[in-house]
Amino acid sequence: MTREVLTFYGETDGSSATGTFELDSDVLHSKVSYIRPDKGMECRIWARLLAGAACRVYVEQTEDVTESSPTWKKLGAVDLSSAGTLAIEDSNFITKLYSRDGKQAFRFTWEQSTPAKSFLEFRVEFVWGE
């Protein structure tokens, strides 16, 4: 079994009430707006950190990212109810996604009543063959 843990970062644009996080990481050459793992990979989201202005962050998943307009399903949400920092870390992973045929993907979106800068950080463990 092979594993890899990557930390991703994103931020709201400060001017839109809703949007999709552009994700960055130390191993990424260019940002991505969603993560599409290889077929057979399981993605476990282990921790999330939200900082800055009040913000609600959704985890969304699609069954087929290759469609021209993928359908994104909300799996969960995290609220930073007022300006500050919210750290969620658990001994178990928070969300698990499995790539059955290589077309599944997930992304993070935001919702803000007053658009302002918020920052997202989360850790994903990619697991092959478990």
Binding site: T2, R3, E4, L6, S25, D26, V27, L28, H29, S30, V32, Y34, I35, R36, P37, D38, K39, M41, V65, D101, G102, A105, F126, W128, G129
Partner: protein
């Protein structure tokens, strides 16, 4: 991982044996490790993957939904010449054997090999070879993930392919731990037979080749000096001890591994 034969890093201990198995020839090459030249200094941070996608232009970035062409681990020291300049693991010394664990990070890639260079070995039922096409199903056979163990035998190149089926352009780093063995061929036919029968402990490693190739033929005849048409020592059956003890001395009398 450590046992009588392997040390805690997964390398064959000095004085122990490694048995390279050649499925294409139903033969083995038993070798005794006389010395580990780089003992206790086997980690090597190679740097980025030695491949550049032309439309990205940065060495070591593996493009999303893409596979590299075949590449080799070129020399970064500038001190190796000839064929070793483009492939650090290449050598043609019968008394050398390189045992390596290649760790291409992050562990999100499918890793394929051509052994020798240019030859896609069968990966399923003598019908399927690996493909680098961007398709999750046709490219499903013949890949490994994570740390890849490899032995580098003399006289041929191995090409590496790295496929990234995620949607992320990924920067890479390659860590390699390796042992450079000084090896010799045991000359006692009884010992060789007992190694094959696993009566004497050894480290078995199967070279993943299913079809005979001229490169291997040349390795056996030109580098190791086996007689013509002899491709290693046949993997005798348990009831063939008498035959093995009779044949092995003739098979290895000219062999130069010492």
């Amino acid at each position: 991982m450590a046992d009588r034969v392997l040390d805690e890093n997964g390398f064959v201990r000095e004085g122990e044996h490694v048995l390279i198995v050649f499925p294409a020839y139903n033969s083995v090459l038993p070798l005794r490790v006389k010395a580990v030249v780089n003992k206790n200094a086997n980690w090597w941070n190679y740097g980025p993957l030695p491949y550049t996608f032309s439309d990205i232009g940065v060495e070591g970035v593996v493009k999303a939904r893409s596979c590299t062409d075949g590449f080799r681990f070129k020399d970064r020291t500038g001190r190796l010449t000839g064929e070793q300049a483009g492939d650090m693991f290449y050598h043609n010394k019968p008394s050398k054997l390189i045992h390596a664990y290649v760790d291409i990070k992050p562990h999100l890639f499918r890793i394929y090999h051509e052994i020798p260079s240019g030859v896609k070995q069968y990966t399923y039922m003598e019908a399927v070879t690996f493909t680098t096409s961007v398709d999750e199903y046709t490219s499903d056979f013949g890949y490994t993930t994570g740390v890849v163990e490899m032995f580098f035998l003399p006289g041929f190149h191995i090409d590496w392919f790295v496929a990234n089926w995620t949607n992320m352009n990924l920067r890479t780093n390659v860590m390699i731990k390796f042992a450079e063995y000084e090896v010799e061929l045991p000359t006692d036919p009884k010992l060789i037979f007992n190694l094959m029968m696993r009566r004497v402990p050894s480290y078995w490693w199967t070279l993943p080749v299913t079809s005979s190739r001229v490169e291997f033929d040349r390795m056996f005849s030109d580098i190791y000096k086996f007689p013509a048409e002899v491709k290693g020592i046949p993997l005798y059956r348990s009831y063939e001890e008498e035959k093995a003890l009779r044949e092995i001395p003739d098979l290895i009398k000219e062999v130069v591994i010492a």
